[in-house]
């Protein structure tokens, strides 16, 4: 498996990145860890005449935990997330999810930026970021703009990012309450058969906030507002759980693949979601 030849660029700053993007347009692609892109290039399913390696661009590798928000640079790896205690203290769902991505070696290289920017429906971070109501910082020739994770994904590998823009950071409002990231997969290294990200806030016996997103059950991650709404104001009794699951099943649109047919995926989606909600509630 040998990729086609390409020109390699390793700019020192974002201006350099944007200059290459501007010069080569569609022919250029940015790469962080490369663990999604390189296999595609080796299989010659991705043609990248100009490859822009972001590793030398400064300011993209920090995890900055503030009182209200968390800013995660695009080059922060899954491994960085797993080992950052300050981050885990305020948003433990990130670590729980990151541990379920790929395998140890891939987590050293796989980045948050690559995971969310790529638009691969199999990636775990996009759904998680939708659950957390994160926003993505995009830098392009016209400066910086912010797009909500919940607005970012249009279709498989199609996002709100323009070809001449680079995703530089993810900004997450500090979550509160109970959380869970639940994922079913065939083995280590596999994408999800179904995965659910859930954040809940409990006051007394009542759920006052619920955010729910699922992964690999449509051509984009699915943030289901209705599923969350079905829980709010309830004490998460069986009826509320059933309603949340029904709402989610209404929003997803899985396709058949080697992981199984549609009926199976829908059923498992419901089971995984229910378990995620129950676990999040037990932690709320």
């Amino acid at each position: 498996m040998i990729p086609a030849a390409f020109e390699y660029h390793r700019p020192k700053d974002m201006a350099g990145v944007l200059a290459v993007l501007e010069e080569h347009g569609d022919d250029a692609r940015v790469m962080a860890g490369g663990h999604s892109l390189i296999p595609m290039m080796k299989l010659r399913m991705a043609d990248v005449p100009h490859l822009i390696d972001l590793q030398d661009v400064g300011g993209l590798s920090d995890i900055d935990v503030q009182s209200d928000t968390i800013r995660i640079g695009a080059l922060v790896t899954q491994h960085d997330i797993i080992t950052n205690d300050a981050l885990t203290a305020v948003a433990p769902i990130l670590r729980e999810a990151a541990l379920q991505i790929a395998d140890p070696q891939v987590r050293y290289m796989g980045t948050v930026g690559g995971n969310v920017a790529n638009g691969d429906p199999g990636n775990d971070m996009p759904g998680l970021m939708q659950c957390l109501d994160a926003s993505f910082t995009l830098v392009g020739p016209n400066g910086e703009r912010t797009v909500a994770a919940r607005e970012f994904y249009e279709a498989a590998y199609m996002t709100a990012r323009e070809d001449d823009e680079v995703l530089t950071a993810v900004v997450i409002p500090v979550p509160s309450g109970g959380y869970a990231y639940e994922k079913q997969k065939r083995k280590i290294g596999d994408y999800a058969t179904a995965a659910a990200a859930v954040q809940l806030i409990k006051q007394g016996d009542t759920c006052v906030h619920a955010a729910i997103a699922m992964t690999n059950l449509s051509d984009t991650p699915i943030f289901s507002e209705d599923a969350g709404a079905a829980l709010i104001g309830t004490s998460l009794d069986d009826a509320a759980l059933k309603a949340a699951v029904a709402a989610m099943l209404n929003d997803i649109d899985p396709t058949e693949d080697n992981r199984g047919p549609i009926a199976f995926k829908k059923h498992v989606a419901g089971v995984i979601l229910r378990r995620a909600i129950e676990r999040a509630w037990s932690r709320a």
């Binding site: 390189i38 080796k42 395998d103 140890p104 070696q105 050293y108």
Partner: protein, 164 residues
């Protein structure tokens, strides 16, 4: 073919400089350019871990990195972990506990395990199985690999204590 680049890497303590196409995969650089054939090629899609090396303190699958990306970095392969007169405890433990059969996965397995023990000197069996899950072995069923890593950890910790 694209323009060749000037590449500078340090492998097992030795600086290497050469010109290479940027698409050259690091695993081929090591194996074919530098004749460091310990790391192997098993799947080419970053699933099997036979090509695992340590790059700037990270366990990395060298089949999924272009040499251009690696330029400027320090790389350790199985060849850099020990030598015949001074084996790494993992190298002895894998032999002692029959942690290998055909040997093809072994260099990547041991290289990964060395990093795992660096980060977690006292892993539980579960932590070993989870921490080694990026390396596939087709022969051993892993039971003796886990045993080997546990034994090496015990030996390294005992040596550490003795030194203190």
């Amino acid at each position: 073919m694209s323009k060749k680049m000037h590449i500078q890497i340090n492998v097992n303590g030795k600086d290497q400089e050469f010109l290479a196409e940027p698409r050259e995969l690091l695993i081929y650089t090591l194996r074919e350019r530098l004749n460091i054939t310990g790391p192997h090629i098993g799947c080419e899609t970053s699933h099997c871990g036979a090509c695992t090396v340590t790059i700037d303190g990270k366990s990395v699958k060298a089949c999924t990195m272009f040499v251009a990306q690696a330029s400027g970095k320090s790389i350790t392969t199985i060849e850099g972990l020990g030598d015949p007169d001074n084996l790494h405890p993992l190298q002895s433990a894998f032999k002692e506990h029959h942690g290998l059969q055909c040997g093809y996965c072994t260099p990547g397995m041991i290289t990964r395990a060395s990093k795992l023990l660096e980060e977690n000197p006292n892993p539980t069996e579960e932590e070993i199985r989870f921490g080694m899950a990026g390396n596939i072995c087709r022969c051993t069923g892993y039971q003796n690999i886990v045993k080997s890593i546990q034994a090496a950890a015990a030996e390294m910790n005992a040596a550490q204590e003795a030194a203190e």
